[in-house]
Amino acid sequence: MQRVINRLRALILGGLLLALPAMAPAKNVKPDPNGLPPQDVKDLHYGDVLFYFYQDDYFDAITRLLAARQLDRLPHTQGEAELLLGGLYLSLGEHVEAGRIFEALLNQNTSEAVRNKAWFYLGKVWYQRGYLDESERALKQVSDKINPRISAERYMLLAQLMMREERYDDAIGALSSWHGAPDWTAYAQFNLGIALVRKERLADAIPYLDRVGRIETRSEELLSLKDKANLALGFALLQAQRAAEAKPILQRVRLEGPYSSKALLGVGWADAGAGDFKRALVPWLELRKRNLLDSAVQESFLTVPYAYSQLSASGQAADYYSSAIESFDAEMKRIDDSIEEIRRGHLLDRLLDDDKKDTLTWYWQLTTLPNAPESRYLYQLLASNEFQEGLKNYRELNFMSRNLDAWRDDVSAYDDMLDTRQVAYNRLLPKVDAVLAATDLDALTRKRVDFESRINEIEASNDVAALGTADEQRTWRRLKRIEDYIAAHPDDPDLTEMRDKHHLMKGVMYWRLSASFKARLWNERRSVKELEADLKETQRRTVLVRQARAAMPTNTGAYGGRVAAIRARIDQLHRRLSDVSQQQNRYLQALAIRELEGQKVRILTYQIQARYELAAIYDRAANDKPKAKP
C-alpha cells in the first residue's frame, strides 16, 4: 500500500472513529501503486499500534499506544496518535475519556472533516448509552460539510433524541426543515408523523405517515418501516374514532411481516368500531391461533369472546373466556418459572455462552438468545439500548477480569525472575570484585603514556636502531662494541683492516635500519592508537561493570517494588471488577425480571377482565333463567 499521509489519516480517523459505516469501504481496498510515492514510516511504534488497530484488536492497540506515548516514542506522530487514542477509547466504549480527548483536540487545528466525524461518532455512542445531553452537544458540533449519509443520520439521531426527551416541538421543527438524502426521507417523515401524533396533531401527521405507508420498495428495512407507519396511523385513527378510515390503512400491513398480529387486531377493532362484530371475528380468530407470547394474540383471547358476546352468542363467549383464563394461567406459570430461573443468577453467563470472548468493540451486540425457557420473553428487552449497553459493559468487565488473570500469572513469573537474578548476582559478585580489583586502569594508562613518550623520543632523536628487530639490535650492539675497541686503540696498525670492515658493516646496518625506520615508526604509532582504543573500551566496560554492580541491588529492589505495587493494583482492580460485575449482573437481571413482571401484570389484567366478563355472562344467564319459566 502506498502510505500516503492523507490516506493513512483517513484510515485512522475513519477506521476507528469507528468501525464506521462511511469508512467501511476504505477497508480492504486494493492499493493502487500508480503515481504515488512510497511513504516512509515516521515512528515505528506508531506503526506497531496501527498493526493491531487494523486487526480490530483495540485493546492491544491502546495498550501499546499509551506505552509508546509514556516512553516518548512518538516524536513525529503525536497529533495523529492523540486522535487515534480518542478513537480507541471510543471503540472500547470509554466514551467519557474519548470525549475528554476530543474536546481538547478538536478545538485546535484539526481539519473540519476529522472534527465532524469525531463529534458524530461520539454523539452516536452517547446517544446509545443514554447520555442525551452530551449526545446533543456533540451532534450539534457537527457541521453540514460532511458525508450526506452521516449528515442524515446525525439529523435523525438529533430528532430521535428530542423525541426520547419528549421535546416533540423541537423534533417537529428539526424534521420539518430537513432536506436530506432520499433514502433517509422515509425515516424522517415517519418520525415527524410520530412526533405530530404525540402532540395530538393527527391531521398534520396523516400526510407524512400515509406517504411512508405507500412507498414502493423491495428493501426489507423500508418494508418494515412501511408496515410500522401503517400500523401507527391505523391505531391513531382508531383512537380518534375514525374506524372506517383506519381499516384500509391497517390492511396495508403485510400479513407475513412482524407487525401482522397487531394489524389483525386493529382491523378487528375497526370492524368492531363500525358495529360489524361478525366481520371482526375473522381477523381475531385468525390471531387467536398464533403464539400467546405476542401481546396482540393475548388481547385476541379477550376480543374474540367479546365479539361473540356482542353477537349474543353467550355460550361461545363463555367458552372462549374460560379458555383464555386457562391459557393466561399457564402463561403466568411459565413467566414465574422464568423469573425464578433468572433470579438464580445465570442469565448473563448463559446469554454470553456462545460469545467470541477475545475482542472488544463498541458495536458488539448480542444477536442470538440461548435456547432457554426465559429467552422467549426477552426479545423485546434485548432490542433496547439499555439492556444491550449494560450487557456490553458486563461482557467487557469479564474480558478485563480474564486479562488481569493472565497478567497475574506473568507478574508471579517476574518475581521468580528477580529472585533468580539476585541469586546469580550474589554468585558472580566475588568474581566481579576480584576482576575489578586486579584491573589497575591508572597503571595501564601510565604505561601507555610512557610508551608513547618513548616513541616520540626515538622519532625526535632519529634512533633508527631502537626500532630494529632483536637480531638487528644485537648486531648493532656488537658493532658498537667493536667501534669502542677500535676507538680505544687508534694507533694500532693491525686494526686498520678491521676499522675498514667495521666502517663498511656499520654503514650497511645503518642503511637497513634507516630504510625501515619510517614504516616501523608508523607501526608503533598505530599500536599506540590501538592500545589507546583498547584502553578506552576497557575503561568504559569497567565503568559499566561498576555501575551495574552498584545498580543491581537498587534495580532489583526497584523492580521488586514495582512488581509488588502492580500486583497490589491487580488485586485491587480484580476486587472492583468482581464487585461492579456483580452490580451489573444484578442490574440486568432486574431489568429482565421487570420486563417479565410487566408481561405478567398485563396478562393478569387480561385474566381479571376475562373473569369479570365470564362472571357477567353467568350473571346474565342466571338472571335470564327465572324469567324463562314463570
Binding site: 484510515l11 428493501s219 412482524p258 377493532w269 458488539w364 431489568l591 425480571i593 421487570r594 398485563r602
Partner: protein
C-alpha cells in the same frame, strides 16, 4: 364507560404509544447504510410490544437503579484496567528487554502490488531468532500501514549480522523467496531495525531492505 369503550380506549392508546415508541427503536439507517458493521451486527428490531396497562413492578430487592451511575463506574474501572495494562506492558519491557541490550525488529510493507507476504525467517549472527507465518488478517494490516514488531530480544553490545528471508507470492502469483542482510553495531541504547518490503515499480519486482533506526 362500557367494556367495549374501555378496552378499545386502553388498547388503542397503549398500542399507539408502543408503535410510536417502536419507531424510535427502529433501525436508524436506511438499507444503503445497513452495510455498516454496526448495523450489520445489530439484531433485527423486535416487534413492538404493547406496554403494560399497569406500571411494571420492579424485581423485589433488586431495583434496576440508575444506568448512568453504574455505567460511569464501569467507565472509570475500565480506564484503570487500561492504564494498568500500559504500566504492565512498560514494566515487562524494561524488565525483560532492558534498553542496553534491547533489539527490536519490525516488518513493514509498502504497496505490496508485487508481493504477498507469507512468512519471514530472521537470523541474527547465524542463529534463527524468529520464524513468523502471517495470517491473511495480519498481512492485510501490514498493507494498510501497520508495522509489526516481529521480534523483541536482547543482544550484547558490539557488531552483529542480521539476515532476513521473506517468502510469499511474487509477480504473476509465483512462489517467491528473497533475503536481505545487514551488519549493525549494537550500542548501549535500544536498537531498532525495520525490515522493509517495497515495490520497485520500474522493475515490476518487490524490493527487500533493512533500515537501521539510530
Amino acid at each position: 364507560m362500557n367494556f367495549k369503550h374501555r378496552v378499545v380506549s386502553i388498547i388503542a392508546r397503549a398500542a399507539l404509544l408502543a408503535y410510536a415508541g417502536a419507531a424510535l427503536a427502529a433501525p436508524q439507517a436506511p438499507a444503503a447504510a445497513a452495510a455498516s458493521a454496526a448495523a450489520a451486527a445489530a439484531p433485527a428490531p423486535a416487534p413492538a410490544a404493547v406496554p403494560a396497562i399497569a406500571p411494571p413492578a420492579d424485581a423485589p430487592g433488586a431495583p434496576p437503579g440508575d444506568f448512568k451511575t453504574l455505567d460511569q463506574e464501569v467507565q472509570g474501572l475500565k480506564k484503570d484496567v487500561i492504564d494498568l495494562n500500559k504500566d504492565l506492558f512498560v514494566l515487562q519491557e524494561e524488565l525483560l528487554f532492558p534498553a542496553n541490550t534491547q533489539v527490536a525488529l519490525y516488518v513493514s510493507m509498502d504497496v505490496g502490488a508485487f508481493f504477498a507476504l507469507n512468512s519471514v525467517t530472521i537470523k541474527i549472527d547465524n542463529k534463527v531468532v524468529t520464524n513468523y507465518l502471517y495470517t491473511a488478517r495480519e498481512a492485510d494490516a501490514l498493507l494498510k500501514g501497520g508495522v509489526q514488531q516481529v521480534y523483541l530480544g536482547n543482544l550484547k553490545v558490539g557488531k552483529h549480522e542480521l539476515v532476513a528471508f521473506f517468502t510469499g507470492k511474487g509477480p504473476i502469483e509465483r512462489d517467491y523467496k528473497r533475503g536481505a542482510t545487514i551488519s549493525f553495531e549494537k550500542g548501549v541504547g535500544a536498537k531498532y531495525l525495520e525490515l522493509k518490503i517495497t515495490d520497485h515499480v520500474a522493475k515490476h519486482q518487490p524490493e527487500f531492505s533493512i533500515k537501521d533506526w539510530e
